[in-house]
Symmetry: C2
Subunit: 327 residues, 2 copies
């Protein structure tokens, strides 16, 4: 493992790719690598990009890559890959454009196939981002499509969260906007050549202003969240966005902020793992025959729903793995 990590540190792209495949497996080797990465990384801010489907995330990241390379940054990207095996390829233009940067030795793009239909971030994405840190990529960009809650919420993983909005979502834009404004450090409104986007930009600015005047909550969220209007395709507004991102990035490098993010990521990882173990125990407990029995007792008013929940809770608890598997 040490040899592999040394190679990655020296810039060996093949080793980096191999480690990214290894770290997503389940054996002892993968676990040892994961634990090592948890300890040895966390100094590089991660920039998360999220927004509804079709808003232009890949196009924006493509534009950012060009500008960050002009400023001599080595950039790593973790992207959730929406490629379906039956796609005809014609629709994948945006992603193809971004991938042209992949031949640049100072850019590394990892497309992760989605394991689940949610299309969200997985633990695999977190491991890959850590490996990019080992390979001296800085910053690390993570792209994820978002409307509902993703499997792992980008906002709890990224140090800087960029939320993208744009025209063309009808009434649903209100729902998207409400969700994204809660987690965004920077709101980017794309396709600002269109009137609907201009109106959206105005709305978001008003809401952010209102929000910052009443908000006294999270101490690490920047006091003034910004909203930038861009045209990702032509690059208009992207330079301003890069400046703002780099300013946030610099602010995220204090010891206090690093500790905050390390704790948050670790806590998220632990929670997910513990919950998953419990959920599996519950699934085993709540099999078909058992469900039918409980349902019948409920129908005969022999038991209340609350009592069903309490009963299952006690039984799943008794059977969930509570012993350390080693160590």
């Amino acid at each position: 493992m040490k040899a592999l990590l040394d190679k990655i540190r020296r810039g060996d792209r093949r080793s980096l790719g191999r480690a990214m495949s290894l770290v997503d497996q389940t054996g002892d080797q993968a676990r040892a690598l994961q634990d090592h990465l948890r300890q040895s990384t966390g100094q590089v801010p991660w920039w998360g990009f999220t927004g509804p489907p079709g808003v232009g995330k890949s196009t924006l990241i493509d534009a950012l890559l060009t500008r960050l390379r002009e400023r001599q940054q080595r950039v790593g990207v973790v992207a959730i890959d929406p490629t379906s095996p039956t796609s005809d390829g014609a629709l994948l233009g945006d992603r193809v454009r971004m991938m042209r940067h992949a031949i640049d030795p100072d850019v590394f793009i990892r497309s992760l196939a989605t394991h689940h239909r949610e299309g969200g971030l997985s633990d695999a994405a977190i491991h890959c981002a850590r490996l990019l840190e080992v390979g001296n990529f800085d910053p690390v960009l993570i792209e994820t499509v978002g409307v509902g809650q993703n499997e792992v919420d980008i906002a709890s993983v990224a140090d800087i969260c960029v939320a993208m909005l744009g025209p063309g979502y009808g009434d649903d834009i209100q729902l998207i906007k409400a969700g994204l404004l809660q987690v965004a450090d920077i709101v980017v409104v794309n396709k600002c050549d269109l009137p609907e986007a201009t109106r959206l930009l105005k709305e978001v600015r008003e809401e952010l202003e209102f929000d910052s005047s009443t908000d006294g909550g999270d101490e690490v969220r920047p006091p003034e969240r910004r909203c930038v209007g861009i045209e990702a395709k032509t690059g208009r507004g992207v330079e301003e966005l890069v400046d703002q991102l780099l300013a946030l990035d610099a602010a995220a490098r204090t010891a206090e902020r690093r500790h905050h993010y390390a704790r948050r990521r670790f806590r998220g990882e632990v929670s997910r793992s513990v919950l998953q173990a419990f959920e599996q125990a519950l699934e085993r407990e709540l099999n078909e025959a058992r469900t039918d029995d409980l349902l019948a007792r409920l129908d005969r008013s022999e038991i209340s729903f609350d009592a069903v929940v309490a009963e299952l809770n006690a039984q799943a608890l008794a059977k969930a793995p509570g012993e350390a598997p080693g160590k």
Copy 2:
């Protein structure tokens, strides 16, 4: 409670609205009502509608309401309301159009504000759908915006799941398509006046054909899932869709299918409640100081990540409520 339910059965809309507010609360009265609804409903198929933001769900439901009313159906609708308090109203045209049906005594539309930013289905939506059954609305339509996993997955709640797709989502359409095809009984491609939608329709048809030839899984999913191309705004294709929905609806009324759906809904409700109780116990356990301590031990290699998970699992288990809180 009996008096309230009797009024709802006789068509008193105000009582129905009051019960919908009551059932979402936490007291004994709400719990008793929930338990009663669990036992006394489940005979009416629920039609779920999901799809990415802006695909035209409200517009389709508006068109369906018109046609179902022509066929003398009394229709109930549960819609997740994306209205944000600062919206200027101008964007809410689709929803407003749908709401014009709300003055029809044989239509009842309940807009549920989203409690969480996910915008998904909540337990409240399930309770409301059950109350619509009590009020003799048949069928019950449930609308939810979907890309990621919703808080409660529409596919596990609805008897018939309609997935909507359309043009304008760039590469992300592959991800959306892959997710929705897994849960849909009927795939609706909207905006079929646009060339991108026509291509999408062709793609979906090919995938469904391929899928049905290899699939031997779920016994209750109709053997041939259909794909219908429509223009929700002009109504083109909607009549064909209504025919197909009513055919599926009729098929969903056998005793076997009713039992299947009752079990699935109940199981989902139980799982969510048990998991929630456990998650709260875990949250209390995994407080800030505790996280810092574990993180420090991990950094000093005194403990592995797996051991952290096992330790927390055991402790959260010990503290989760395992006793019945009264029948």
